[in-house]
Amino acid sequence: MPLLEISDLRKSFRTPEGETQTVLDVPTFSLETGQQIALRGASGTGKTTLLNCIAGILSPTSGTVRLDGHDLATASEPQRDALRARCIGYIFQTFNLLQGYTCMENVLLGMSFGRGPDTDAARGLLDRVGLSHRLHHRPGQLSVGQQQRVAVARALANQPLLVLADEPTGNLDPHNAREALQLIREVCEETNAALLIVSHDPIVLDQFDDCQDLAELNHAAQEVAA
């Protein structure tokens, strides 16, 4: 059974004019444990909405999103929160680190709602991403590349089954982008976590053997393009 299995997923929003707009219509998609897939998608193709539906942040309008045997579409919000904390690591384009917290605290917070804070494990993760000398620095005291490394460490804090990465290199220069991507892929391989990355950055997409076009996957995006 695949780790992630999507079928007939639709997500619609109500526009300010009162009309219903469907931004996501994915008939089928699946991801195996340990598999790494890149989804190519330009702005407005529903990348973030898809990842938010998979993460249980958004509730689908219809269809099923089955993660590790649990259907996120029918789960209650607290159940989705718990599943997200336990099974998913999320890496954002803007990192979304908490500015008032140190690197260590950011990683500990990532653990807090899942397996629980573990200082030694957090230190080990930061060491793995090359930040053992920056444990007590705040994000504002780090370079952009270092901030992304903290975000990677935080995403892996709960030993997730699935890592979602939304334009993880969007704010990085080419050199840092390659390094960050390599790091994400390596740590996912080491922990056997599946990786679903959405990007429109060729530097990212060229690295993946399994690269799919989100516009083809998402029928709603095709309708908008047409």
């Binding site: 919000e77 997200r84 904390a85 999320y90 954002f92 908490l98 917070l109 990532g110």
Partner: protein
């Protein structure tokens, strides 16, 4: 641990508003506790310092003034009871009382009142269950046939004037000290210093009543008069009630020149009733300060909600439930109130020490700042609970934060 980490970081990031809010809560908390405790302890102290004297016979005038002058050694003396009236009372109504101690006032030393009395006064209790006791020296007289120019002084007098046994002094005329005034020629010697009583007696220089009556410069025609008679009524309930009513009729209704205070405790209670409005105003002001302070907790947290929406969205994306962010805000609000309550104890201590010092120095009544009172539990915990309640409003805002919308940075 996680909740505290989030709360600690938030308080640190908003340190200035947290400090100001906690200070305002502390002010309200401290004021509320102090008003309550000062009122409670001062009432108790004033009621206790009647020294077991239930009644007073004095010259015609205000009962309150008679009590203040005779027991609290404050206010002006309402006048004198002539020797004949005093002797009549002592001989004719002995069945109504078990102890009657005359006092005479009219002199001072540097503002400390000199009170003439008999040795019987020291046989009474200055507070319930606490008799007078000497710290050093001896009492001035032990029989009715002899008196010497000797004085027994209260603890405050000894400390403030730096007096010891064998100190000599000349009394000044009047109840208040005036610079440049010439003292009486009579020289007195301190023979004993009383242990602290925590009552106005600590401020008094006690001398034999004959000494004050016959002081150089006092009119000899009043030599046998007294300022008041402090009375301990009979312990027999029937005799006591009969005595109170009889003496009330005899002196208050049957004469035009004497006043009988049949219950010193009632007069003190009436005095506090009259001052009750001031205490009520203070209590309402303190309550208002506390409520405004609680409102400031709400305002300070609510104002940070917009800038913290992204923080809540990130926490939610990490797996925190709505209940977690709601609880964090409520707890944060309660924590600010708790910090305020801690500051409140410092404010309380400051007010109490100031009030204690003023009351002790001016009146001689002692307060006990560290004595426990239920209000010291109720007010701080009440404010923490109030802090948690007002935290519900911003917490609801945090609860409703849209995660997907707020994960995107707002420019």
């Amino acid at each position: 641990m996680t909740w505290w980490m989030i709360i600690r970081n938030s308080l640190r990031q908003h340190a200035l508003s947290t400090a100001i809010t906690a200070l305002s809560i502390g002010l309200g908390c401290g004021l509320l506790m102090a008003v309550w405790v000062v009122n409670f302890q001062s009432q108790r102290a004033f009621k206790n310092v009647t020294g077991g004297f239930d009644a007073i016979l004095g010259p015609r005038g205000s009962q309150t003034q008679l009590v203040l002058n005779s027991l609290f050694h404050m206010d002006a003396s309402p006048g004198l009871i002539n020797r004949a009236d005093y002797e009549t009372f002592r001989k004719s109504y002995k069945r109504f009382y078990r102890n009657a101690v005359p006092i005479a006032v009219g002199d001072n030393f540097q503002g400390y009142r000199i009170v003439g009395t008999t040795h019987d006064l020291f046989a009474a209790e200055h507070s319930p269950g606490e008799p007078y006791a000497l710290a050093v020296g001896d009492y001035f007289i032990r029989n009715d046939k002899q008196w010497n120019k000797e004085a027994v002084i209260g603890d405050t007098v000894a400390r403030k004037l730096g007096w010891r046994v064998n100190q000599k002094f000349n009394p000044y005329h009047g109840l208040n000290f005036a610079e440049g005034q010439q003292p009486h020629k009579d020289e007195y010697t301190v023979v004993g210093i009383l242990r602290p009583t925590g009552t106005p007696a600590d401020h008094v220089i006690w001398i034999p009543i004959e000494g004050l009556q016959q002081m150089d410069g006092h009119d000899s025609q009043y030599a046998g008069d007294v300022s008041a008679v402090l009375i301990q009524l009979s312990t027999n309930t029937t005799a006591r009630a009969f005595g109170m009513n009889s003496l009330d009729g005899i002196y208050n209704k049957g004469t035009d020149h004497l006043t009988f205070v049949k219950s010193t405790a009632d007069v003190v209670a009436r005095l506090f009733d009259r001052l009750g409005w001031a205490e009520k105003v203070l209590r309402w002001v303190a309550l208002l300060v506390a409520v405004v302070a609680a409102g400031s907790v709400l305002a300070s947290i609510y104002n940070t909600m917009n800038e913290r929406r992204r923080e809540f969205a990130i926490l939610r994306a990490l797996g925190a439930g709505r209940g977690t962010v709601f609880g964090v805000i409520v707890l944060e609000s309660a924590t600010i109130a708790a910090l305020g309550a801690v500051i409140g104890f410092a404010v309380y201590a400051g007010i109490m020490f100031a009030a204690e010092s003023i009351l002790r120095n001016e009146i001689g009544v002692t307060l006990h700042p560290f004595e426990q009172h239920p209000v010291m539990i109720i007010v701080p915990f009440g404010l923490v609970a109030l802090g948690a309640v007002v935290g519900i409003i911003p917490a609801l805002k945090a609860y409703r934060t849209d995660v997907a919308e707020n994960l995107i940075p707002q420019s």
